[in-house]
Amino acid sequence: MAGTLQFDLVSPERRLASFAATEVQVPGTDGDMTAMEGHAPTITTLRPGILRAHGPSGVQAYAVTGGFAEINATSISVLAEKAVAVEELTGTVLDEFIAEARELASVALPEDRDMAERTLNDMLALKASSGH
């Protein structure tokens, strides 16, 4: 039995989840990573994607947009700008995300445009993979 680490998922408006997880898969900006007990202390920014936490009651998945995750040996806190449990994720919610990302990309300054477009593409990928 692998050890657990304390998993917290908070959005600006409320705390979405807090439980002991055996492993948490995080969609980092530079690629996905999995945090388990004893992970080296890391802070990473997030890209829009699916976050999976293996908890006592099975795998909980959340769709997150930007934010960051703070990982250390015993805990992981994910601060997501927006987070939605995958069960509640519908086509309309995704379309809202995409519309917002598209708007941001269109008004972004030249130096920020790459980033905004990448975010938009991540959103589109998220929608494609969720099958909505």
Binding site: D30, M33, I43, T44, G66, F68, E70, L79
Partner: protein, 289 residues
């Protein structure tokens, strides 16, 4: 000496006023509870955010490549004051105390020869500032359509602020709001959001690995930090407004009660006086016969 009928009308009207203020107090109490819960729920996010940013700012802040949101533009000529007030009145000194703080701040900056720009959030502050500082207004955010204070509202304001900053419209931004302490005490507060200031020493940030890099994480976080600070301020303001309204309406209800008592005594007295007068008239009329 007002007539009996006048007094009776007066008492009736004060009673109606008391009913209204009592109802407003109860509504404010219910809203206050919700506002407090919202502020409570937002706290973990804001706290973690600040902790991580403080740590990062400590290690990156002094370097040459520090982002402008942290290091500033290198000048402090143009100040933007974001004055957050309520959309409605009848909440005691809530709006005026925020406005007073902002006005004092603006006056101080103006005597130092700085340029002052004002962005108002909420109708009441705008109305109060228009007369003497109206020429400094550069924008207004209307919250009257907002049913529930959500993060997107704060994001909208933050985006507007960051856009203006990118265009070089100002060097320093300060937000004005009332921090909620208790139902009877709300403290008007000024908080500088751009360039970001962090109090105290951060926790040892070198403990962490950063992905993509310290600068990258910080650059990503700073704009979010602005939005988070504005969101916290909006929530604090919301709770403060309801708290202030609750105690203001509590006072008003009590005053109305006192007034009704006073008027009732006066009414009874003049009623008795009228009866006595009539009796004397009848008796002396009978005696004269």
């Amino acid at each position: 000496m007002p007539s009996l009928k006048d007094l009776k009308n007066r008492i009736g009207s004060v009673k109606n006023t008391r009913k209204i203020t009592k109802a407003m107090q109860m509504v404010a109490a219910a809203k206050l509870r919700r506002a407090q819960e919202a502020a409570e729920a937002a706290r973990p996010f804001a706290e973690r955010m600040t902790a991580v940013m403080t740590g990062l700012a400590g290690s990156v802040g002094s370097s040459e490549t520090a982002p402008r949101l942290l290091a500033g533009t290198g000048s402090d000529k143009v100040h933007l004051l974001v004055v957050m007030t309520a959309e409605r009145g009848l909440c005691g000194g809530f709006n005026s105390s925020i406005v007073r703080l902002a006005r004092a701040h603006a006056a101080k900056l103006l005597t130092q020869g700085k340029t002052v720009k004002i962005l108002t959030v909420g109708k009441k502050g705008r109305e109060q500032l228009r007369r003497d500082l109206g020429q400094h207004f550069i924008g207004h955010v209307d919250l009257s359509e907002v049913k529930r204070m959500g993060y997107p509202v704060a994001q909208g304001i933050a985006r507007d602020l960051l856009d203006r900053f990118d265009k070089g419209e100002f060097d320093v931004a300060t937000i004005f709001f009332a921090r909620f302490q208790s139902v009877i005490s709300q403290v008007p507060t000024a908080q500088q959001v751009i360039p970001a200031v962090f109090e105290g020493e951060g926790e040892v940030s070198s403990l962490y690995d950063y992905e993509p890099s310290e600068e990258g994480v910080l650059a990503d976080l700073l704009p979010r930090g602005v939005a988070t600070q504005i969101f916290t301020a909006l929530l604090e303001n919301g709770a403060s407004e309801q708290g202030a309204r609750m105690s203001a309406m509590d006072n008003a209800t009590r005053n109305a009660g006192d007034m009704i008592n006073r008027l009732t005594i006066e009414y009874n007295r003049s009623r008795q006086a009228a009866i006595t007068k009539e009796l004397i008239e009848i008796i002396s009329g009978a005696e004269a016969l």
